[in-house]
Symmetry: C2
Subunit: 226 residues, 2 copies
DNA sequence: ACGGCACTGGGTACGCTGTTCGCAAAGAAC
DNA sequence: GTTCTTTGCGAACAGCGTACCCAGTGCCGT
């Protein structure tokens, strides 16, 4: 007696018996994603999704084992938005930077992705395809496999960091960032922490220069070149 | 009429009037931290903390405006665990790597820190001290201030990433990582995704070699050297 | 063709959460 | 001594994820 797979990705959506379902994972995921896009991750509750679909909260559990699984579906759905059709060009740095730009675009379209704790939401099939794509670009490099994985993980981390800072800089509308700015201002004007004050006072880099283009190649070089 | 400060760090704990409080922020924070250490961040609810302190849930709101503020107190409390007494040595790389080791130790003592979304929990006074310490080590470098800030942010990101992977590798006891491993195994044995399979099959680096020592200097070099 | 069974829909309900309100008691300020 | 601010906290509210149960539905084996 083999157990039912614990991973949602190995669990078939339908076994064939019984009445044909009125919904499916894709539809539920789409509803959840549009809800998150519109009102943030906090608005993604089973009840709201169900209401959006015109059904009851309990019905969703026919398609998903838990809310966390639904979050995984959402994350993988947006992972599927990046285009992986272009084969490796031979220039791995350019390939990875291009990938990073696409991932950043996805993050910008779905800022709630930043609220998903990276270690708690797992890797789905689209994310795996993305990973394979990145590793294919690195295929020519004579570097241990785990080191390549680290480099790709760092790439994702950098993209998330970049989007986070650019969102914080752009919109200080939230009460949270108001409080944050209030405190940071008090600290810098207090005179203690001179290095911090100096660093914050430094002119930001030219707007045209892209953070990804500036940082990523240097960092990848540090990680992947001997 | 000036508004009351939105940041908890600028709000005095006591104004002097009324009866003397039975608790204080430090005590509440300590209770919350020990609760999180023992049973994870999910166990940190206002009711449980209050019960631990022998009081009612509503009483906590005399000391803290919201649960999120309490999380900030917790994060800053562990940020205070790192020792910043050693002045810059003149070797900024060594200084930053040493700082990273201390931060990693703090993460290991309090793994729930990884569950705090980095962008949502703000920077408190201890974290600011830490930042100042790192910037002091970089004082001699002729590099724009914002670039230094980026580098320090990346340093923190790497430490978090490192602890996350080592915790996932160490304990696959949770149902989540079981599901994750199940899916990843299915993918690699399916034959699609050859690069991923190869990367995962690669021998892990020698256990003695420290991830921080291996990765950090190279990455910092990539970010901070011309 | 048909009986049985595996499945779906969804109302109801449980236990938990963060948070607000209101009131009694306590102590500093004038 | 009066006044005013602050504290403790029981009660309650709205919302959450999720388990349970029952009725209905359509495929499968015979």
């Amino acid at each position: 007696m083999t157990d039912r797979p614990r991973s949602i990705w190995l669990r078939p959506e339908r076994t064939g018996r019984g009445p044909v379902p009125e919904h499916d994972r894709a539809g539920i995921t789409a509803a959840a994603v549009s809800l998150a896009d519109a009102h943030g991750l906090g608005a993604v509750s089973m009840r709201r999704i169900a209401a959006e679909l015109g059904t009851g909260p309990a019905s969703l559990y026919r398609y998903v084992d838990s809310r966390d699984e639904l979050l995984e579906l959402m994350a993988d759905a947006v992972a599927g938005e990046v285009d992986l059709s272009r084969p490796p060009s031979g220039n791995w740095r350019a390939d990875l930077v291009a990938l990073a730009h696409q991932v950043r675009a996805a993050y910008r379209r779905h800022p709630w992705l930043l609220d998903l704790v990276p270690g708690r939401v797992g890797i789905g099939p689209r994310a795996v395809d993305q990973l394979e794509h990145a590793l294919a670009a690195l295929a020519g490099l004579d570097v241990p496999g785990p080191v390549k994985l680290e480099a790709v993980a760092m790439l994702n981390g950098i993209v998330a960091l970049a989007v986070r800072t650019e969102l914080q800089a752009g919109g200080s509308a939230t009460a949270w960032s108001a409080a944050q700015g209030e405190f940071l201002g008090a600290v810098t004007s207090a005179g203690t922490h001179p290095h911090l004050a100096a660093a914050l006072a430094g002119a930001p880099p030219a707007a045209e220069e892209d953070l990804l283009d500036r940082i990523l190649p240097r960092m990848l070089a540090g990680l992947l070149e001997p």
